[in-house]
C-alpha cells in the first residue's frame, strides 16, 4: 500500500517495532521484560514456520526438531568452548545443515506434501526419544553431558562477541531478541520480494508450472526449508539463553504442535499473524501453566481442532477482510494442495 509515495506497509510495522524495542524497557519491570523476551523468541520461531509453510507451502509438522537442535547445539558447544560467539553460530549451523540433509532426501525424492509432514514429525519424535533416553554419563559430547530427560541446567549465557568476560544481562537479552525479531521479520519480507522468494511462493501455487518455466523446484524448496530450519535453530539458541536451561521438551510433539497452532491461528500465508499467534498463545501457555484446572494439551488440542474446522484461514486474514470489507487475503487455498499423483513411471 502506498500513500503519497510512502510504503505504509513497511513504515507502520517498522515504527511499531522500534517503538516496542525502545519503549517497553521504559514501561515494564524486569519480570515482564523477561516475559516479552520469551514472546519475541517464540515469534522468531513462528516466523520460521510461517515462511516455509505459509509461503513455501512446505508442511513441516516436526519443526521442534530444528528448534531443539539449535538449543542443544548451543548448550553443548558453549559448555565445551566457553566463549559464546562460536556456539551461537554453531547453534544456527547445526539445524541448518540438518534441514538441508533431511530436505535433500525429501525434495529430491519428490515425496508429496503429506509425506513431508510425516517425515519431519518423525524426525522430531525420534530426536526427542534419543535425547530423552541418553541420560547416563556415557552419553556426552566433549565436556558436555547430553543429560537425558533431565536436560542440561546452568547453560552459560551469551557474551558480547569475542569478549567472554562481558556477558549479556537480561536487559541486553531483551534488546538482542527483540532486535533479532525485527531483523528476521523484515529480512523475510525482503526475501519474499526477491526472485527466489517469488519463485518459492509460485511453487506453493503450482509446482509443475514452475518447472515448466525452467526453475528447479527441488532446489528452491530445499533452500526455503533450510532457511526455515536455521531460523528455528536461532530461536532455539535464544531460548536456551533465556532460561539458562535446555531439556528434551524443546524437541517434543507439544512444541511442534504449538508452532503449527501459532501459525494456523495467526493465519497461514502471513508473517504478521503468526507473530501475534505466538505472543498470544505463549501468554496463554504461561497462564495455563500457573493453574491446575485445565490441562495444556486439552486446551491446545481444542484450539487446533476448532481452527482447522471453523477458522482455517486464521485470524489475521479474517480480520483484514472485516476491516477492508473485501477479499484481499487469502489469495490462495488455505492449505497446500493434495498431492498430485506425481510422476508415474518416472522412478
Amino acid at each position: 500500500m502506498k500513500i503519497a509515495g510512502i510504503r505504509l506497509d513497511l513504515i507502520v510495522p517498522g515504527v511499531c517495532g522500534l517503538a516496542l524495542l525502545f519503549g517497553l524497557p521504559i514501561f515494564l519491570d524486569l519480570f515482564s521484560l523477561l516475559q516479552v523476551t520469551l514472546y519475541a523468541i517464540m515469534a522468531i520461531l513462528a516466523l520460521s514456520l510461517a515462511f516455509i509453510w505459509g509461503y513455501g507451502g512446505i508442511l513441516c509438522l516436526g519443526h521442534s526438531a530444528f528448534f531443539g537442535l539449535g538449543a542443544y547445539a548451543y548448550a553443548i558447544a558453549v559448555i565445551n568452548i566457553g566463549e559464546s560467539t562460536a556456539p551461537f553460530l554453531i547453534a544456527i549451523l547445526v539445524p541448518t545443515l540438518a534441514a538441508a540433509a533431511v530436505g535433500y532426501f525429501m525434495f529430491y525424492g519428490r515425496i508429496s506434501d503429506v509425506y513431508v509432514g510425516v517425515m519431519t514429525l518423525t524426525l522430531a519424535l525420534i530426536l526427542f526419544n534419543v535425547v530423552n533416553s541418553t541420560s547416563g554419563a556415557q552419553y556426552h559430547i566433549g565436556k558436555a553431558p547430553i543429560g537425558g530427560y533431565n536436560g542440561l541446567p546452568n547453560v552459560p549465557g551469551l557474551n558480547v562477541p569475542f569478549d567472554p568476560d562481558n556477558s549479556l544481562d537480561p536487559g541486553d537479552m531483551y534488546y538482542l531478541c527483540m532486535g533479532l525479531l525485527i531483523v528476521v521479520y523484515f529480512g523475510l519480507r525482503w526475501l519474499l520480494t526477491t526472485r527466489f522468494g517469488r519463485v518459492a511462493v509460485a511453487i506453493r501455487e503450482n509446482e509443475k508450472r514452475v518447472e515448466f518455466i525452467g526453475y528447479d523446484s527441488r532446489l528452491h524448496k530445499l533452500a526455503t526449508f533450510t532457511i526455515g530450519g536455521g531460523l528455528a535453530g536461532l530461536a532455539g539458541c535464544l531460548f536456551v539463553n533465556w532460561g539458562a536451561y535446555v531439556s528434551p521438551t524443546t524437541f517434543s510433539m507439544m512444541q511442534s504442535a504449538q508452532v503449527i497452532i501459532w501459525v494456523l491461528v495467526g493465519g497461514v500465508g502471513t508473517l504478521f499473524g503468526p507473530m501475534i499467534g505466538a505472543v498470544a498463545l505463549s501468554w496463554l501457555t504461561v497462564e495455563v501453566g500457573s493453574q491446575q484446572l485445565i490441562d495444556a494439551n486439552l486446551l491446545f488440542g481444542a484450539i487446533l481442532l476448532v481452527f482447522v474446522l471453523l477458522v482455517p484461514r486464521g485470524i489475521m486474514p479474517v480480520l483484514i477482510d472485516r476491516v477492508w470489507g473485501r477479499i484481499s487475503l487469502p489469495r490462495r487455498p488455505v492449505f497446500t494442495a493434495p498431492p498430485v499423483a506425481a510422476r508415474e513411471g518416472k522412478r
Binding site: 529430491y108 525424492g109 509432514g117 517425515m119 514429525l121 524426525l123
Partner: protein, 288 residues
C-alpha cells in the same frame, strides 16, 4: 545356538510389534488416504481400556484382547462422525485436525487418570532356552500379530464388508452409483483401523507402562512403517516392518536401543529417497 534363538526371537518380536502397532494406521491410510495423527493416542486408550477392565476383575486375556478393540473402535466411530468426515479428500487438514484430537485425548486422559504410570499384569511366565531366559509373552505377541494380520487379510479379501470397502476406496462415485452406502463404509473402515490400534494397545499393555503421553513413543515407528510400506496396507506394513524391524534390532544389538531408533529413521529416510511411494509403490502392485 541358544543365544542365536534368543536373538532370533527378539528380532521377530521387533518385527511383530511393528506390524501390530502400524496396522490400524495403515488400514486408515491405505484405504482412506487419511493420516491419523491420533493413532498413538488410540493405542494408549486401548491400554487404558485394558487397565480399567483388569481393575474391575475382568479376566486378563479378555481385558487385553477383547475390551480394547471394542472400546477404541467405538471411540473411532465417534471421531469419524464428529471430525474426520468433514475433511475427506483434504489430507493436510485431516492431519492437523487429528493432531488436535491427539492433544485433546492426551489432555483428557491426563485429566481423568493423572500422569502416574498404569499397567496390566503379565499373563504368561517366561521360559528358558539353554542358559538364557526368554519371555513367553513375547512369543505370544509374535503369534498374535501374525494371527491379526491373517484375520485382517481374510476380512478385506473374502468378506462382503471387505469387498464394499475396497470398492469404495477404488471409486467412491461408482460404488455409490451401485447403491453402496459409502458414508457407512468410510465410518466402518475408520472404526476398524481404530479398533486395531486399540487392540495393539491392549496387547502391549502388559509389556509397556501406560501414561497419557506414551502415544508419542509408538507413532514414530508406526509412521515410518506405513510410509515405507506405501499404499497397499497389509503387504506394505509387513514388508516395511521386516525391513525396519531387522535394521532397528540389528543396530540395537550392535549398540543400544537409542541408536536402534536412529538407524530406523535413517533407513526410512534412505528408503523414501529411493522409493518415494514406499515399497508397494514399486513392488507387489495390486496386493492388499
Amino acid at each position: 545356538m541358544a543365544y542365536a534363538t534368543i536373538v532370533g526371537i527378539e528380532v521377530v518380536y521387533a518385527i511383530a510389534t511393528l506390524i501390530l502397532v502400524s496396522l490400524g494406521l495403515a488400514i486408515i491410510f491405505g484405504m482412506m488416504r487419511v493420516i491419523n495423527l491420533a493413532h498413538g493416542e488410540f493405542l494408549v486408550m486401548g491400554g487404558y481400556a485394558a487397565t480399567i477392565a483388569v481393575h474391575h476383575g475382568v479376566n486378563v486375556w479378555i481385558a487385553i484382547l477383547i475390551v480394547p478393540p471394542i472400546a477404541v473402535g467405538l471411540i473411532g466411530l465417534v471421531v469419524e462422525r464428529a471430525v474426520i468426515r468433514f475433511l475427506y479428500g483434504r489430507m493436510v487438514e485431516t492431519m492437523l485436525a487429528s493432531w488436535g484430537l491427539s492433544l485433546l485425548i492426551v489432555g483428557l486422559l491426563t485429566t481423568i487418570f493423572g500422569s502416574s504410570t498404569e499397567g496390566v499384569p503379565m499373563p504368561l511366565s517366561g521360559f528358558t532356552i539353554g542358559a538364557y531366559q526368554a519371555s513367553g509373552y513375547n512369543v505370544f505377541v509374535i503369534a498374535f500379530s501374525l494371527l491379526t494380520l491373517g484375520a485382517v487379510y481374510v476380512l478385506l479379501r473374502f468378506t462382503r464388508l471387505g469387498l464394499l470397502a475396497r470398492g469404495t476406496m477404488q471409486n467412491a462415485a461408482m460404488a455409490a452409483a451401485l447403491g453402496v452406502d459409502t458414508t457407512k463404509v468410510y465410518a466402518v473402515t475408520f472404526a476398524l483401523g481404530a479398533a486395531l490400534a486399540g487392540l495393539a494397545g491392549g496387547v502391549l499393555a502388559p509389556v509397556a507402562g501406560i501414561v497419557p503421553t506414551s502415544g508419542g513413543s509408538y507413532i514414530g515407528q508406526a509412521f515410518i512403517t506405513v510410509l515405507g510400506g506405501g499404499a497397499a496396507a497389509l503387504t506394505g506394513v509387513t514388508s516395511a516392518a521386516l525391513l525396519f524391524g531387522s535394521v532397528g534390532q540389528a543396530a540395537t544389538f550392535a549398540t543400544n536401543p537409542v541408536f536402534g531408533s536412529v538407524a530406523l529413521l535413517l533407513a526410512a529416510v534412505v528408503l523414501i529417497r529411493i522409493l518415494p511411494n514406499g515399497i508397494t509403490g514399486r513392488y507387489f502392485k495390486g496386493w492388499l
